[in-house]
Structure formats: C-alpha cells, structure tokens
C-alpha cells in the first residue's frame, strides 16, 4: 500500500527552508512508515550519485567582452532636465498652432497672436469685396423679382381693365375693340383736357402772384420820395 505523503516528504527532505516543527513531523512519520523510509533512502542515493559530479573547466570560448560598453542603461529616475526637450517641443507646437509672432519695435519686444496687421487689412479688404459682390448679387436678384412682380401686376391690371370693358361693352368682337379704343381715346382726351386746365390754372395763379408782387413793388417804389 502506498503512502500519500511519500512524494512530499522526500522532496521536502531536500528543502533547507523547511520549518523545524515540520521537519520533526516528517521524521516522526518516517519512523513509522516503511515505504517513506525506503523512498527517502533511494532519493538520497540518487542525489549522492548526482553530487559526485566533478566540475568541468570551461574550454576557451569567446566571452562577450566588447558588449559591456554597450550595455543597456538601467531605467534611471527621470530628472527635471530630461523633460526639457519634450516641454520645448510642446511650446513650439503651441506657438505654431496659435500663430504667435514675436517682433522687436521701437517700443520694445512685441508678441502677437494671429496674423500681422497688414495681413489682417488685406484680409478685411478681401472680405469686404466679397460682401459687396454678394450684396450686389442680392440687389440684382431683388430688382429682377420686382420687375417680374411689376409685369405680373400690369398683366393683372390689363386683364381687369379688359374684363371691365367687356362687362361694359359686351363680347370682345372687332366692334367692341373699336369701342374700347374709342373709350381709351376719349379718356385720354379728357385727361389731356384736365391736365391742360390744371396747368392753365397754375399759370394763372403764378401770373396773379407775379402781378401782385409787381403791384406791391411799384406801390413801394411810388411811396418813396
């Protein structure tokens, strides 16, 4: 019958780190277990056989001599100056992104963010030109729309007039057209007459005013010695 402790007991016999208490327990078990005694004796004989090994001298071989000067360095703690290149790179990248410009003038050193003033003026001018062109385009478009609207309104007005005339004079036959033309002509004559009368009244009024002023002037002049 095999002992379940044999492997552990034999192995731990060769373990120098075994606690005194545990070693005492092993010794106690071994005194009672014949199988463990035999196994341990066999193991000791095997290790004794191995320990008869005689160290062999190292034959001539090519030692990695030159490698020592190229040994990888240990990962040393980072010093503040080791961050300097990284910080410099970061600052330069930030300066490029923010378009920082440093210049010297009579008033001292000048730091600018963004483009130079002359560049800004040119940019503003270009933007104004673009805005003007855009406005002109919009105005042109609006004018065209108004003209369209006007034409549409005129057409509607004409249709309304024709409808009115048709209502007044019947179907739009050739006779009716003559009547319409005659109606427009009579209207135009009336308008001209009305306009003439108005101009005459205005002229008369002006003449009356001039005469009054002349009378007043002659009266003023006649009153003087």
């Amino acid at each position: 019958m095999s002992c379940e402790h044999t492997a552990t007991l034999v192995a731990e016999y060769f373990d120098d780190t075994l606690a005194v208490q545990q070693r005492a327990e092993h010794d106690s078990h071994r005194l009672q277990c014949l199988e463990c005694q035999h196994a341990l004796n066999a193991a000791r004989a095997a290790t004794a056989h191995l320990q008869r090994w005689r160290e062999q001298p190292v034959p001539e071989w090519s030692r990695p001599r030159a490698a020592a000067s190229q040994l990888p360095r240990p990962a040393a703690r980072w010093q503040w100056w080791q961050w300097a290149p990284l910080a410099m790179s970061f600052t330069l990248a930030l300066a490029v992104m923010a378009n920082v410009q440093v210049g010297a003038s009579t008033e001292g050193i000048e730091i600018r963010f963004g483009p130079a003033p002359e560049v800004a003026a040119l940019e503003i001018e270009a933007r104004l030109s673009a805005f003007e062109a855009q406005q002109q385009l919009a105005l042109q478009s609006l004018t065209q729309a108004l003209a369209e609207q006007q034409r549409a309104d005129n057409a509607r007005l004409m249709e309304a007039v024709i409808d009115s005339v048709v209502d007044q004079f019947g179907d739009s036959t050739a006779r009716s057209l003559e009547q319409v033309i005659a109606y427009f002509e009579s209207q135009r004559q009336q308008d001209l007459q009305l306009l003439r009368t108005s101009y005459q009244q205005l002229a008369d009024s002006d003449y009356a005013t001039i005469r009054s002023v002349e009378q007043l002037a002659s009266l003023v002049q006649g009153g003087q010695p």
Binding site: S62, A68, L71
Partner: protein, 186 residues
C-alpha cells in the same frame, strides 16, 4: 561589480562573466550532454544576461536571477533542437568529454591522469542518466540538487505549483535510482 558593468566598465563585465562561467558551463553541460552545445547555451545565457542586466533589481541573489535566465534559455534551445540529441554518439566514440579532459590535462598536467579519466567517466554516466529524464524534470533536478533553489523558486520558474515541483522532483529521483541499479552504480 554589477553596477560597474552597467556603467560601462568592460573590465567589470569581464569579471562578472568569469566569476559565473564555470557554474553556467557545468549547468549547460549537464543539460545538453556535450561541450559544444554547452558552449552554445552558455553563450545564449550570457547574452541574455547582457541584454537584461539593467533589469536586475537586486531583489534576489544574482545567481538565482542568472539561473532563471539559464533555465529559460535551455527551454528555448530545446525547442530549436532537442537537448542531449548528440549524447549517445558522443559516448560511443569516446566523447567530447574526453576531448575536454585532454585539454584539461594540458592545462593542469600535475593532476593524476587516471583520476581525471575516472571523473570524466563518472560525469558521463551522470549525464547519461540525466538524459533519460524529461526536460522539465531534468531542470528541476538541476535547480534543486546543483543550484539549491527552493521549490517555490522552481515552481515560479516553471509556472507550476510547489507541490507539482515536489512530485516531479521525487519522480525524477526514483527514475535515477532505478537507472543506477540497472547500471550497477553504487
């Protein structure tokens, strides 16, 4: 010495290699079974040490850390070509071990040649016995018997539990004892 080697001292690095090379070479020899492969493995180990020396924090002994690298390099090498593949032929034709011994005789002529031969043959038998073990067991025996690692350290290296490491160690010793009896090794 480690710090000096890290700071670029070629002399410190050379001293470091020389201090540990015998231990690493014998480890490699027991695992591979022949001096040629042992030198290859040793080269891999010290290159691994060279590349990772800056990671050594001193939390464990340098030898423990060194043999962790050696352990992993042995597994890598075994993946590329099975270790001990050339042991049989080496033993049959007198072996590379005897070549090494001849070199040793030249280096230390004062030592008894017969005693040296006995040592070489004993080592060859040990290597022959070790070669019958699976690599995982062979590494456990190596780390426990020759490098005095704890079972916890071995378990961590092999990513197994300490109890599994103990069981494998016991199984390896049983097998070695059986081989000893078979070869009448006392």
């Amino acid at each position: 010495m480690i710090r000096a080697a890290l700071e670029g001292s070629a002399r410190a690095w050379d001293n470091l290699v020389r201090r540990h090379e015998t231990q690493v070479y014998n480890f490699s020899l027991r695992l591979t079974g022949n001096p040629t492969d042992a030198l290859d493995l040793m080269q891999d180990v010290f290159l691994g040490v060279y590349r990772n020396l800056h990671r050594f924090r001193g939390e464990s002994q340098f030898t423990t850390w060194l043999f962790r690298i050696a352990h992993n390099k042995a597994i890598d090498m075994n993946r590329r070509r099975p270790l001990f593949s050339s042991l049989d032929s080496a033993l049959e034709d007198g072996g590379d071990m005897l070549e090494v011994q001849a070199q040793r005789n030249t280096d230390a002529p004062e030592q008894d040649p017969l005693a040296q031969l006995e040592e070489s043959l004993r080592n060859a038998v040990i290597m022959s016995h070790l070669s019958t073990l699976p690599l995982a067991q062979r590494l456990i025996v190596e780390l426990k018997v020759f490098q005095s690692h704890t079972f916890e350290e071995i378990a961590e290296l092999q990513d197994i539990s300490a109890n599994t490491a103990k069981t494998r160690f016991y199984a390896a010793l049983r097998k070695l004892k059986a081989l000893m009896e078979q070869d009448h090794v006392m």
